[in-house]
């Protein structure tokens, strides 16, 4: 820790020289706008006229009764099932099925399973819009080819099906990530724990419950928080696939912010939605940072 000390002849503020360029750009283009968003959320403003009127917490109070906002929040929560719960279950099931044997060629599978993570959500959305297309989409075409004409649907156009359809795209994006995370974690579990359990007569399920799960605590934390945040932040995918429709059946908070601010000129309201959204994401992020610092401390 010596190096943290000042060197002879060095100014007390020498370190600031290194920080200032990055810090200034950050303060001007990220931090100041965050504060402005919060301030704007206490005003009523159409975005162009000069009269902004201070209305205190009124935007937040109206959120509580705003059917669009509640619908959007509910849809984000529903997306947690598709982005987080299902991929984690798939990942855990797969990791325990595959066990801790080292598979030759795993790098190839890992690269493929990870692929959706690096693609632009716009590309993912365009691809799945084609797959879900009622007329020439592969999904309905496949069903017809199998003689299951009755099962064909307007996947993204139906009020009840649009949300799970978009959600399942999230599952497609996230499950490989969860699998890889858990498989990597499994490699760390000491073999003798399983051997001891075997001797005690624990069956596979109990081994999973009492050895695998507790040992994967850190990975589970990372997976939960990463995927939940992804579910809370959905924007690009909804913009490309459904624009929140039909009706508001796939509306999410991110899209509501965009629509209210840039299409309906309800700036104060949009800022309030953005603030609530950020606070939720924040609380979850703080959780992951604490978790990470704890696991780092263990190593």
């Amino acid at each position: 820790m010596q190096v943290q000390h000042r060197w002879p002849g060095e100014s007390r503020f020498h370190g600031w020289l290194y920080i200032l360029p990055g810090l200034i750009i950050y303060l001007v283009f990220i931090f100041y706008p965050i504060l402005e968003t919060i301030r704007t959320s206490f005003y009523q403003w159409d975005g162009f006229s000069s009269n902004r009127s201070f209305i205190g917490l009124e935007n937040y109070v109206s959120l509580l009764n705003d059917s669009q906002f509640l619908q959007a929040l509910l849809n984000n929560l529903t997306f947690i099932i598709f982005y987080s719960i299902i991929p984690i279950i798939i990942g855990l099931a797969l990791a325990s099925l595959l066990g801790r044997k080292r598979l030759p060629g795993m790098a190839f599978f890992r690269a493929g399973l990870f692929l959706p993570q690096i693609l632009s959500m716009v590309v993912v959305g365009v691809t799945w819009r084609w797959i879900f297309n009622p007329v020439f989409g592969p999904l309905n075409m496949g069903l017809r080819a199998l003689g299951l004409e009755t099962l064909t649907q307007s996947w993204l156009g139906d009020f009840n099906l649009a949300l799970p359809s978009v959600g399942s795209i999230g599952t497609w994006v996230q499950y490989g990530f969860c699998m890889i995370l858990f498989l990597a974690g499994m490699q760390r579990i000491p073999e003798d724990q399983y051997e001891a359990a075997e001797l005690d007569g624990a069956n596979g399920f109990n081994q999973f419950l009492y050895i695998t799960i507790p040992n994967l605590r850190a990975e589970l934390g990372v997976a939960l928080v990463t995927t939940i945040i992804a579910a809370m932040r959905v924007f690009d995918l909804v913009y490309v696939t459904t624009r929140g429709g039909p009706g508001d059946s796939t509306l999410v908070t991110g899209f509501l912010v965009y629509r209210s601010a840039f299409q309906q000129n309800r700036i104060g309201f949009a800022a309030a939605v953005a603030t609530v959204m950020t606070v939720i994401i924040f609380v979850i992020s703080l959780f992951i940072l604490r978790l990470q610092s704890r696991t780092e401390g263990e190593q």
Binding site: F13, G22, P33, I118, T127, I131, Y175, G176, M179, I180
Partner: protein, 276 residues
């Protein structure tokens, strides 16, 4: 490995292959579609095109103006990556190895940006840029992205510098290196893995960024690839070959970088970088 050991692994490979196929098949279908004609599309996603031509790509590239989008995306991404990684190295070095008065306030202040979504900044940012007449310019796409990337980059690089071998730094100091020389002559050559991970992550986030470019740019020729593709879909959503070709132009460069630097992507993202 013995033959018996291999046989025991077969179920594992089957399971993995099944889940890999679910991911890969849509992408294969997309690639094939880009080479097909409109009428070939209805023959099924995995029917091979009769003629492998690049006509559709050319169509997207010129008529669809993907040449402009591509140029914009490359320019913005290259500048953001270079500037962000350079600035993050400086801030990370300072927070990792230098005395910084006020670090208890400054470090968490910077990390805040690592956690916020663009939705939290976009509304005032737009009006701010509008007042400065910077909308529809590269500045509006580059500066906020740098701000956000420096936030994560500081966290990433400072943890690298904190764990750097102190003896080397001390030895260099005794040899008369100043702080700047210690950074670039001694530590920078060692930081390759950390820097490469940061490069690929910032590259990916910038290349795929959507909301910022959607809001800041009105002029068609200033759009980046993801925004260009989204508008393209609004117009040609029934023309699957064209949409597929456009998608591949957007995904191509990131795929290339992914193939080359796959290790760094996965390491960075499993490390719990929660953006994206």
């Amino acid at each position: 490995m013995s033959r018996k050991a291999w046989t025991r692994l077969i179920p594992n490979y089957l399971i993995l292959s099944l889940f890999l196929l679910i991911i890969i098949l849509p992408i294969i279908g997309l690639v094939l579609s880009a080479f097909k004609t409109d009428t070939e599309i209805i023959k099924g996603p995995f029917a091979l095109p009769e003629q492998w031509t690049l006509d559709t790509f050319e169509n997207a590239w010129t008529t669809g103006r993907f040449n402009y989008f591509f140029r914009n995306s490359v320019l913005v991404t290259v500048v953001v990556v270079i500037v962000s990684v350079f600035l993050s190295t400086l801030t990370g070095y300072a927070f990792g190895l230098l005395p910084v008065p006020g670090r208890k306030v400054l470090f968490p202040l910077l990390l805040l940006g690592y956690m916020v979504p663009f939705e939290a900044v976009i509304i005032p940012l737009y009006h701010f840029m509008d007042t400065l007449h910077l909308t529809d310019t590269y500045w509006a796409l580059i500066l906020p992205q740098v701000g956000l990337s420096v936030s994560f980059g500081t966290l990433w690089m400072s943890s690298f510098f904190r764990n750097a071998p102190k003896e080397l730094v001390d030895a260099a100091a005794i040899d008369g290196c100043n702080r700047w020389q210690v950074l670039w002559r001694i530590l920078w050559p060692l930081s390759r893995p950390a820097v490469l991970t940061l490069v690929v992550l910032v590259f990916m986030w910038t290349w795929n960024e959507f909301l910022l470019a959607l809001v800041m740019v009105q002029k068609e020729t200033m759009r980046t690839l993801p925004v260009g593709l989204a508008f393209f879909q609004g117009r040609y959503s029934a023309n699957i070959p064209l949409m597929a070709a456009g998608s591949l132009i957007v995904a191509g460069p990131i795929l290339l970088v992914y193939i080359l630097f796959q290790r760094y992507f996965i390491r960075g993202m499993l490390g719990g970088s929660i953006k994206g």
